[in-house]
């Protein structure tokens, strides 16, 4: 708690002279903070000024609208939450027509479109269609645990990661981020497969597969039975995986998983991330991403570190 109070004081101070800019696969971000897919909608614009973000990452976009899973889709857990939304989305044509222009109106804000599919062809089709737009980057979601086909089915086997990434790589020239699942024995193998198949960057981690049972009702809480665990409880897993992947693969990394504060974001970057996505925190505190950005600046001031580049190489081993 003492730390929090100190942090608050620092937050009020302007972050003079800090170089927060990063470059991810050739795309310049003014700071390293983005949104984690599935926690950003156009309604986020009512929570904070999204143009303050380094980049914005959308919810998964498919070829056609998906209805998602039945409810309950959400369960609370110690230090986090389970979700089984099941990639409900409006489909690529509606997204391009209704949402992309709204995001594009924010000057200097790179837009990362998260793409999903049931088959390799569907992933490639979304990638190809979005490549006709001025979207800045694509994030390939092969790690959603809440859909029966696609998603994690591709992301938990080396061949699946390689084949899906390769198919999408063939379909697009846009900078391609591959989002990795933590539900694997060796995440480094998945990272290498994505790199070998032509990924430009990696994002990790997606949610951890979990389940919650209501003891007194003696029922599984989520209609889908299982869901993806997110929130501060998974942060150490994410830090460990970013650390491992950083030492195995040279690609830029967007680190995510339970980032709740500026110090958590700094931890991700020290572990080897080039940028940081905020997800569950933004569902609990509506302005969390910009708050965490301010806290990260305060944290860097406190550490005596002047740039994200410097922070990334500051881990003492």
């Amino acid at each position: 708690m003492g730390n929090d109070a100190e942090m608050k004081k620092n937050t009020d101070r302007p972050a003079a002279g800090l170089d927060m800019g990063v470059e991810i696969a050739g795309v310049k971000w003014k700071n390293p903070i983005t949104t984690a897919s599935g926690t950003f909608t156009l309604r986020t614009m009512r929570c904070y000024e999204i143009s303050r973000l380094g980049a914005v990452t959308t919810k998964g976009i498919a070829t056609v609208p998906w209805a998602g899973n039945p409810t309950p889709r959400i369960a609370e857990t110690y230090g986090g939450m389970l979700n089984a939304v099941g990639l409900q989305n409006i489909g690529m044509e509606a997204w391009i027509r209704d949402e992309l222009p709204v995001l594009r109106a924010h000057e200097g804000l790179p837009v990362i479109a998260n793409i999903v599919g049931r088959t390799t062809d569907e992933y490639a089709e979304v990638a190809a269609r979005l490549s006709e737009t001025d979207v800045d980057m694509l994030e390939l979601n092969i790690s959603c645990p809440n859909v029966k086909e696609g998603g994690i089915a591709f992301g938990t086997a080396v061949e699946g990661v390689f084949d899906t990434t390769a198919a999408v790589r063939k379909a697009t020239r846009k900078p391609l981020i591959v989002k990795l699942s933590p539900n694997v024995t060796r995440i480094v193998d998945m990272a290498k497969a994505a790199a070998d198949a032509g990924a430009d960057a990696l994002s990790l981690i997606n949610t951890l597969l979990g389940m919650k049972i209501d003891v007194y009702r003696r029922r599984v809480v989520l209609a889908n039975k299982t869901g993806g665990l997110s929130g501060p409880g998974i942060h150490p897993v994410a830090v460990r995986m970013v650390y491992e992947v950083r030492r195995a693969v040279g690609l830029p990394i967007i680190g995510m998983g339970g980032v709740m504060s500026g110090e958590d974001a700094a931890e991700m970057i020290l572990a080897g991330a080039d940028a940081v996505a905020v997800g569950t925190a933004a569902l609990i505190r509506p302005d969390a991403p910009v708050r965490i950005l301010e806290e990260l600046e305060a944290c860097m001031n406190k550490m005596g570190i002047a740039s994200i580049r410097e922070l990334k190489s500051a881990l003492i081993e």
């Binding site: 599935g38 909608t41 959400i74 609370e76 110690y78 230090g79 979700n83 409900q88 569950t280 302005d287």
Partner: protein, 289 residues
């Protein structure tokens, strides 16, 4: 971009408890300091526990409000609400700005405010507001055994306009003695509606409802029978306030969806209860199962 400085309309901030009193064995009446007392009936706020084991908000509908305060009536249904039940005056509490689309104002002269259990508070808010707008308001509320807000209803719309359904026959004599001007009936809200609404009446009326899903389903069916022009349009304009387990409670997680039929195209879509509701036109709601 606009010159005006950006101001978020969804925010989380700390406020203070004014009072927290027990109404029934599991229902509590919480008043908190709240600068924006002007709410729309049906709107809710998120209450936060600030605990590692309870990170998600508890969305609670606003029952009443005034200069600098709002009133939130909640049932203890789990650990989170149990923690709220121990709040004392002066305690700090994290809360969100007002969220959701409330009941729209009645275009008709008569309003039926229909509520069940802990769904009654937002319906009370609607009844009070419509009465203040000069509408004739009839309240039909249902409880298993322990009614809430009956004095409040009587004060806002007149005791002669308050009807209360009770499922447990054994408690009715005591309730009748305690509230001599309010009429009680054994059964549910539809039992009472069937008694008080003449089948042949054709005047248009507004019906604001909130309660358990079986009750809302029953109301959806009930109003269909009143079709004076035989055109498939009920004389009751039904508005339903829905409940669903929420994640964020402000439209960013797609957790709390309900199925809504587009009246023009007939297409059923899953939409967020927190962002596009919680109040929906009654005939558009497609209940699960």
């Amino acid at each position: 971009m606009a010159d005006a400085p950006y101001r978020a309309d969804v925010r989380r901030f700390s406020t203070r408890v004014l009072s927290n009193t027990q109404l029934t064995s599991n229902i509590y009446d919480l008043r908190i300091e709240y600068a924006e007392g002007a709410f729309l009936p049906g709107q809710f706020v998120n209450l936060y526990l600030n605990r590692a084991d309870r990170l998600l908000p508890r969305p609670i509908s606003v029952a009443d409000g005034g200069e600098g305060w709002i009133r939130l009536i909640y049932a203890v249904v789990g650990k989170g609400t149990e923690i709220f039940s121990r709040l004392n005056p002066g305690d700090a509490l994290d809360v969100s700005t007002l969220i959701g689309n409330g009941f729209k104002p009645s275009p008709h002269g008569t309003v039926y405010a229909v509520g069940g259990g802990v769904g009654v508070p937002p319906v009370f808010a609607a009844a009070k507001k419509e009465a203040a707008r000069g509408k004739r308001v009839v309240a039909v509320v249902g409880f298993r055994a322990e009614p809430i807000l009956l004095d409040d209803f009587a004060g806002a719309i007149g005791a002669e306009n308050v009807y209360c359904a009770i499922e447990d026959a054994s408690v009715i004599p005591a309730l009748e003695a305690r509230y001599p001007e309010i009429r009680f009936a054994l059964g549910n809200v539809v039992t009472i509606l069937s008694q008080i609404i003449p089948a042949e009446a054709d005047e248009k009326a507004f019906m604001a409802a909130c309660g358990p899903t079986p009750m809302l389903k029953a109301l959806q069916e009930y109003v269909k029978a009143f079709d004076p022009e035989n055109d498939g349009r009920s004389r009751f304009e039904l508005q339903l306030s829905l409940e669903e387990r929420m994640g964020c409670g402000f439209g960013c997680c797609a957790g709390c969806v309900t199925q809504i039929r587009d009246p023009q195209t007939g297409t059923v879509r899953r939409v967020g209860v927190c962002s596009l509701g919680p109040v929906f036109a009654g005939e558009t709601v497609v209940f699960y199962g």
